[in-house]
């Protein structure tokens, strides 16, 4: 990702990071992302805990959803889902 970065004159003191990685979307790393079949989901939330990216969020109704902006497509959630309600889908 190329972007405009400040020169050394504009740099904050101590060159402390001033941006959050939430601005750096890693969703384009993978070729596949998971999809949840909500009919069969048992709301166990294991996919949320097993996601290395934190890209699986828990909604207020207890179901989880995939944030495709950050999902790197590792497939851990699909592999570990106890009711096998997730599958990997090719990005189009």
């Amino acid at each position: 990702m190329t972007e405009d970065k400040p020169g050394w004159r504009e740099m904050p003191e101590g060159a402390i990071s001033y941006k959050c990685t939430l601005d750096y979307e890693t969703g384009d790393w993978g070729v596949e992302y998971p999809e949840i079949d909500y009919e069969r989901c048992s709301k166990c939330m294991l996919c949320h805990f097993y996601c290395p990216e934190g890209a699986v969020r828990v909604r207020s109704d207890g179901y989880t959803e995939i944030d495709r902006r950050y999902c790197k497509g590792c497939g851990i959630c699909v592999e570990e889902c106890p009711v096998k309600c997730m599958k990997m889908v090719r990005k189009v």
């Binding site: 970065k5 941006k19 939430l22 890693t26 290395p52 934190g54 828990v58 851990i76 592999e79 570990e80």
Partner: protein, 324 residues
Amino acid sequence: MSDLTLKEAALKPDLLASGHRLCAGCGETIIARMILKAARGPTIATSATGCLEVSTSIYPYTAWMVPWIHSAFENAAATASGIEAAWRAMRRKQKGPLSRYETLDIIAFAGDGGTYDIGLQALSGALERGHDFTYVLLDNEAYMNTGIQRSGGTPFAAETTTSPSGKAVPGKKEWKKPIDEIVIAHEIPYAASINPAYPMDVLRKSRKALEADGPAFLHALVPCSRGWRFPPEKTIEVSRLAVQTCIFPLYECRFLEGRPHYELSSPSLAIAKKPESKKPVEEYLRIQGRFNHLFRPEMRVDLISSIQEWVDNRWEMLKEKSGV
């Protein structure tokens, strides 16, 4: 101890933001996210140099939603000691930015290089001085960040770039350093081993470690799909196999009345009570490419059985210590 349920933890916002640049399927963030979820309130994190440090803090970005500091490779524990001492001084003088916090969770994250090899003296010093912090060892069993070099934490016969397998040498020739025993010998209030495959266990132990009055040590096994040579989706499967084969048993150790008290955690306790459910270590080795040379071109039964012997021996020792 205040309990944290899985649901409460799930609804807590992540303190390690998405968008960091660790590999897909990395075990380190799974553990780091869970530990940060167990934090009670004000938290300061520090890291030793390693995968977690470099890929969460690529300038100008940072993935840390809590104050975070990195100073050098060897001194994660020393930095944490300094944070704790500063907080205590500010509390005593009732001035300074940290003086209003009744509790402060100080978490030091370090890899196996930063703990077994480079950071051992800083860790030992901090444990001896008794600073109130939690040290998390993210053990991926080699220097993965710089390209898979062997470390003190690399297991016997594992192939790394500096312990390649060939006709004469079968990967690493030495055994894994027993870091837990070294740490427990410092008579610290709390030490435990954790594993990303058991989230409830991780949350419970991290909360206990943060609440402990004095230094606490968490040894986390974090499979690395690049360095251990397995497909990224198998991360949790590999870590679960490590517990089921007893190569990495889950336990905690408290120091009470001048003696260490070992206690097996439920996944390992179940195996101790039902020994026939213990899987042969071959299953754990076969799934990882770094042990390929034990199976191809010919089965190295001698090496596999010596690993099994080592595992059995250490497992029996642990069972003895925990009185099961």
